[in-house]
């Protein structure tokens, strides 16, 4: 029975836990932390169960309210979904463990509602990923967005303005999505993804479908911060509280890319995107531009978190361009890269969070001499950095390898150049940081003397260190087992082209 | 006839008792020589006793009347008279009455409500007549090319005492020809009139008398107050 009902437990347990959190906050504030971890643990276990079932028994359909699909809402969980579910709930779980000290320091008075919104945010992401209904997706997108606006707005100086801009652009994005749903509904009369996929092929010539597709694209591009529409992202993620950015940065863009994949390969057939429309070219150009722009702008930053934000923009470029390559090897790379990028971004932001927890700021100069002072954190950081650059034993290498393979297959050399260029920039970026951290020891010692003993930095607290190290280990594990992940999961997640 | 006598007697008694109460309070104050702060507290206490006597008696009654009114309203709205919906109605009106019975009848004595409703209904035709006249007046003003108005703001004092009668008077003024109530300041009505003549109509006080009649304020029935004051007076003794 539990395995049968596991799909609903993934979403509903964090939701109900979020409802109870404010009430628990009246009793004691510390309970909330344990409560959040508990709820997310249940969610992780259920999603692992679901992934297991999917691997062994194939696609799961779950009918909410016991109504059959076109009339009711259903969950459809295939390999891609299941993988995303595990990723989202696992990330949330790690961030929840990690959050304790950082929250205590940054937002001592608002802990309870922070955790409430944290859980709601996770619920939103999970709901987006799991559902098989286009309108239901919109509702959960709004839950995730609203929680995200609030979580970002309570950050440091300038965060409210960033959040306000995010609200305006995010609402435009969500409304464009809704408009796309409406345009599809007017010609098909259905909201179910599988049902739409069955009806739509006859209508591919219609201008309505075309406009719907375009609005979906623009809306999702706003949400995933594709290059010209990324303007909200750097400010928002830089100024958010570090736990919030640790949760939102890895997941928001990736979930949007997941929706893009769903849209292009499940609702619309690849035939529409790649043969009727010049989506190959559009996505490739967008991706390449995003990679170059993100990489160059990352180079210009002096703020560590802001630099990471531009790296995210570049990574979005990888995935969008990879989809644009339109062959199964590249898509395999994209799916693998979604997975890797979640983990890698999580690693980077956890490190950034530790730095800002210790140093109260997140400039690049804060790294001075950190290798001596917090060796474990910096070891994890090096692993993550290597993975972002794409050095072989780490997972980042394999997805890039697939992408390069795919673009060679498609005969697209510019994309390879872009990938290599971005890797080069990443090398420059991260080696600069490692250099600051490793060699500027003397400067930092004198720095420390200036300020007296109070500012001596030691290793991060255990609750923050453990998730960071876990991320590093996961990166290596994914690197080692990437072949079996591909054969067991991703292979089925990739649509037939 | 007897009633008038009784009322007169009660009125006299009330006046005497009122004086006595005032003296008692004064005596109390001077005798105890409290600081101004605590003296204020004492006055509050006396007031609270006065109010409490009234409230405690009528709270349950208030509740029942509110409940019945709300239930009638529910039946009117619902229009479904099967047992399920009626029981829902009972529950809902019970909850609302529980929360809001102090709102509906904050300053009205419940015993009088039937009389008030009767008199209010009797008051309505005159009121409606006034409204119709007012509307024709507005129509005349709006349509006449010269628009013979010379607006002014005037004030007058009222003799009415309870808030519900004030409100009725204010709304009636708004609806009658050429005048709208702008404000009530310290028992003084601030009225915007379209012309001198209309303002004078208001000053004759006909409407005020009628409303005073509706809310039984001309009758000077203060028996309840008399009894309360007497009791408190006795306590002070």
């Amino acid at each position: 029975m539990i395995t049968e009902q596991a799909p609903i437990l993934i979403v509903i347990v964090p939701l109900m836990a979020a409802l109870v959190t404010p009430l628990l906050g009246w009793i004691r504030k510390d309970i909330c932390y344990i409560w959040v971890i508990l709820a997310l643990f249940v969610s992780v276990m259920s999603s692992a169960t679901v992934l297991n079932t999917v691997i062994h028994n194939g696609i799961i359909h779950y009918h909410l309210g016991n109504w059959l699909p076109p009339w009711g809402i259903e969950y459809v969980i295939d390999h891609l979904n299941a993988m995303m579910l595990v990723l989202v709930s696992g990330t949330a779980f790690l961030v929840a463990i990690y959050s304790r000290r950082s929250i205590e320091q940054e937002l001592p008075e608002q802990t309870v509602y922070f955790y409430t919104l944290f859980l709601l945010q996770v619920t939103g992401f999970l709901g987006i990923v799991i559902t098989g209904d286009v309108f239901n997706l919109y509702v959960f997108l709004e839950i995730a967005s609203l929680a995200g606006y609030a979580l970002i707005a309570i950050g440091e100086e300038g965060a409210p303005l960033a959040s306000f801009r995010y609200i305006i652009l995010g609402t435009v994005g969500a409304c464009f999505y809704l408009l796309g749903v409406g345009y599809l509904y007017i010609v098909t009369g259905s909201l179910n993804m599988a049902d739409l996929a069955g009806i739509l092929p006859e209508l591919y010539g219609s201008k309505v479908v075309l406009v719907a597709f375009a609005f979906f694209m623009v809306g999702l591009a706003l949400k995933m911060a594709l290059f010209p529409l990324h303007v909200w992202l750097p400010d928002a993620y830089t100024k958010a509280p570090s736990v919030a950015s640790t949760l939102i940065a890895p997941l928001m863009t990736k979930v949007a890319i997941y929706v893009l994949l769903r849209l292009m390969f499940t609702i619309f057939r690849p035939y529409l995107s790649f043969e009727l429309l010049p989506m190959t070219k559009i996505l490739l150009i967008a991706g390449i531009v995003a990679i170059f722009a993100g990489a160059i702008m990352a180079l210009a930053q002096v703020d560590f978190k802001r630099m990471l934000c531009y790296i995210i923009v570049a990574e979005v470029g990888y995935m969008v361009g990879g989809i644009g390559l339109a062959n199964s090897v590249a898509i395999k790379g994209v799916v693998l890269h979604i997975m890797n990028d979640v983990v890698m971004t999580l690693g980077l932001f956890t490190v950034a969070g530790i730095i800002s927890f210790k140093m109260k700021s997140h400039n690049l100069t804060d790294f001075k001499g950190l290798f001596k002072k917090m060796p474990l954190t910096m070891a994890a950081f090096v692993v993550v950095a290597l993975s972002i650059i794409g050095v072989p034993p780490t997972c980042g290498f394999f997805s890039k390898w697939y992408l390069i393979q795919g673009s060679a297959l498609a005969g697209n050399w510019i994309f390879i150049v872009a990938l290599l260029f971005s890797s080069l920039i990443n090398i420059v970026l991260f080696f600069r940081i490692i250099e600051i951290g490793y060699y500027n020891l003397d400067a930092s010692v004198s720095h420390g003397h200036d300020h007296d003993e109070g500012s001596v930095v030691s290793e991060a607290p255990v609750s923050m260190l453990v998730p960071t190290l876990a991320v590093a280990v996961i990166i290596l594990l994914i690197g080692f087992y990437n072949q079996s992940i591909i054969t067991n999961i991703i292979q089925y997640a990739v649509p037939k082209l | 006839m007897e009633v008038t006598l009784l009322v007169q007697a009660a009125d006299d008694a009330y006046r005497i008792l009122e004086n006595a109460r005032g003296q008692a309070v004064e005596l109390l104050n001077t005798a105890t020589k409290l600081t101004s702060d605590t003296r204020w507290m004492e006055e509050k206490k006396i007031e609270a006793v006065l109010m409490g006597a009234q409230k405690k008696k009528s709270s349950l009654q208030n509740f029942v009347v509110t409940f019945l009114m709300l239930f009638a309203f529910w039946a009117l709205l619902s229009g479904k008279f099967d047992s399920f919906h009626l029981s829902l109605g009972v529950v809902c009106s019970f909850v609302v009455a529980l929360l809001g019975h102090d709102l509906l009848f904050a300053n009205v004595r419940v015993g009088d409500i039937r009389v008030i409703v009767q008199r209010f209904l009797a008051y309505l035709p005159w009121h409606v007549y006034q409204i119709v006249v007012a509307n024709f007046h507005v129509a005349y003003l709006a349509l006449s090319p010269k628009m013979p108005i010379s607006p002014k703001i005037m004030r007058f004092k009222t003799k009415l005492e309870s808030d519900i009668s004030w409100v009725t008077l204010a709304n009636s003024i708004t609806l009658t020809p050429g005048t709208i109530t702008i404000d009530i300041e310290e028992g003084e009505f601030v009225v915007h009139a379209l012309s001198e003549k209309l303002a004078d109509d208001l000053n004759t006080g006909e409407m005020e008398d009628r409303i005073a009649h509706v809310f039984m304020e001309a009758d000077h029935i203060y028996i309840q107050d008399v009894l309360d004051v007497a009791r408190i007076f006795a306590e002070f003794r």
Binding site: - | A139, L143, P177, I180, I182, D183
Partner: protein
């Protein structure tokens, strides 16, 4: 019998329309805020009352008709109150009532 009710309701609705019209003309023509409130406060109250009463009569004596009357009663209470609220705010805000030239002296 039916037609008598219909005629009565038509008359009521026409009366309502007439007062609506005069109230609107007053709202446009009157010189200042307070005098305009005279138009809306009085005119609209009676006009709504008459129109709704006409519609209720057309519906006949049923629960629906009674409900329409409830709206009319509600408007009867609320409209003067709203007028009063706005006019009070206007006075407190410092709007000067319009006066004729000869009165100003």
């Amino acid at each position: 019998m039916m037609s008598v009710m219909t005629i009565v309701s038509v008359l009521f609705i026409l009366g309502g329309l007439f007062f609506f019209t005069t109230a609107t003309i007053g709202l446009i023509r009157f010189p200042d805020f307070f005098t305009r409130l005279h138009a809306t406060g009085k005119g609209d109250t009676l006009a709504v009352f008459l129109s709704l009463l006409g519609l209720a009569l057309y519906e006949g004596f049923s629960l629906t008709g009674l409900k329409i009357v409830i709206i009319a009663i509600f408007m009867f209470i609320a409209q003067p109150t709203a007028t009063h609220a706005i006019s009070k705010a206007g006075l407190r805000f410092g709007l000067k009532p319009w006066m004729r030239e000869e009165d100003r002296k």
